[in-house]
C-alpha cells in the first residue's frame, strides 16, 4: 500500500487540508469529506467569552475521533508565540503532539521567517513535539530543519493564499532529492494541476486551504484535488517518459504506409 507515513503513522490520503475560510461548518465538513483528507489543520485562538457554549464548534463538524487534527501556529511572528501556541494545542488535544509549525515574517506577504522557525523548532523538538514545519523553498534550510528532527518538511509552492502554484519546481526538486522525511508542499496551490505537479515531482503530499475554500465550488474543487493528488502520485510512481525534441519515435509503425 502506498501510504503516507508521518512520524511512524500511516495515512491513506496524501492530501492534507486546512479548515479556514469556509462559508460555514457544513461547507467545511462537505469539502473535507470530498477531499478524502485524513489530516486537517486547525488554528488555536482565544475563546470568545460570553459566547453561547452550546453553539456548534468545528469539532462537531469534523470529529477529532475521525480526523487527525494538526494544530498550526498561524498568526505567530515569533518563536515564543509559536511555542506557547503549540503547548496550548497539545493540552487542548489531550496530549496529541503532531503539530504544524509556521512562523511568519510579514503580515502582507505571509512569507515565513525561517530564523524564528528554526528557533521554535529546536525548542519544540526538545519538548517532544513531532514537528511538521512550514518553510520557504530554500533547500539548505529545509535540510537543516530535517536534521534538527522535524518529522516532515513543508516548503511553500508560493505565497499563502496566493493560488500562484509552484513557482520554483527546481528548488522543490532539490529539497525532495535530499530529504529523508516526507516533503509536503504547503501554501500557494491554486488548482488541481498544481497539486498534480507537486506529486509528480515526488512530494509525499500536499497541504492546501484556500485552493479549496476559495474556489467557486469548494466541494467540487475538493473532489478535484483528491483526484489530482492521486493522479500525480500514480504518475510519479509509474515513471514518466523522458522529454526530448527529436524522438524519431512515432507511436504508429513506420512501415507499410500506403503510397506510390
Amino acid at each position: 500500500m502506498d501510504n503516507l507515513n508521518i512520524a511512524g503513522r500511516d495515512y491513506a490520503s496524501r492530501l492534507l487540508v486546512g479548515t479556514g475560510k469556509y462559508k460555514d461548518f457544513n461547507e467545511t465538513r462537505l469539502a473535507v469529506e470530498a477531499s478524502g483528507a485524513e489530516i486537517v489543520t486547525v488554528a488555536i485562538r482565544r475563546t470568545n467569552l460570553g459566547q453561547d457554549a452550546s453553539q456548534p464548534s468545528l469539532l462537531d463538524a469534523l470529529p477529532p475521533s475521525k480526523y487527525t487534527y494538526l494544530p498550526n501556529t498561524a498568526g505567530c511572528y515569533t518563536a515564543d508565540e509559536a511555542v506557547r501556541t503549540l503547548r496550548l494545542a497539545r493540552e487542548l488535544l489531550d496530549g496529541h503532539d503532531l503539530v504544524k509549525l509556521e512562523v511568519l515574517g510579514d503580515p502582507k506577504s505571509l512569507y515565513p521567517n525561517v530564523v524564528e522557525t528554526i528557533k521554535a523548532a529546536e525548542i519544540l523538538i526538545k519538548e517532544g513535539f513531532k514537528v511538521m514545519v512550514y518553510t520557504s523553498d530554500d533547500p539548505i534550510i529545509a535540510k537543516q530543519l530535517e536534521q534538527m528532527g522535524c518529522v516532515a518538511v513543508m516548503p511553500l509552492a508560493s505565497l499563502i493564499g496566493s493560488g500562484m502554484g509552484i513557482l520554483n519546481p527546481w528548488n522543490l526538486q532539490i529539497i525532495i532529492n535530499e530529504a529523508r522525511v516526507p516533503v509536503i508542499v504547503d501554501a500557494g496551490v491554486g488548482t488541481a494541476s498544481d497539486a498534480a505537479i507537486a506529486m509528480e515531482l515526488g512530494c509525499a503530499g500536499v497541504l492546501m486551504n484556500t485552493a479549496i475554500a476559495g474556489a467557486q465550488n469548494p466541494v467540487l474543487m475538493a473532489s478535484a484535488m483528491n483526484k489530482a493528488v492521486q493522479a500525480g502520485r500514480e504518475a510519479f510512481l509509474a515513471g514518466r517518459m523522458p522529454k526530448k525534441i527529436y524522438t524519431a519515435s512515432p507511436s504508429s509503425p513506420t512501415s507499410g504506409v500506403i503510397g506510390s
Binding site: T28, T47, A53
Partner: protein, 67 residues
C-alpha cells in the same frame, strides 16, 4: 475581590476561585479549552486544584478553522 486578566481583558471576581470555578463562571463548562496561566499550561487534571490569584494572566483557547 480578585482581578484576573483573561484573554487580554481585566475581569473581577468577588473571591478567589479555582480554574474549574472560573470555567463555570465564564459559561465554558463542557467546551474543549486549554488554559495558560502566567505563561504556563494548566493541565486539565489540575483545574480543581489550581487556585487563581489576583494579578494572574490567563489565556483560554480553543481550536478554530485555519490553514
Amino acid at each position: 475581590m480578585i482581578e484576573l486578566t483573561i484573554n487580554g481583558a481585566a475581569k473581577q471576581f468577588p473571591q478567589p476561585l479555582s480554574v474549574t470555578q472560573l470555567i463555570s463562571e465564564l459559561e465554558l463548562a463542557g467546551k474543549r479549552v486549554a488554559i495558560e496561566r502566567n505563561g504556563e499550561i494548566v493541565p486539565r487534571s489540575q483545574f480543581d486544584a489550581v487556585a487563581l490569584a489576583s494579578g494572574d494572566r490567563l489565556e483560554i483557547v480553543v481550536a478554530v478553522g485555519g490553514g
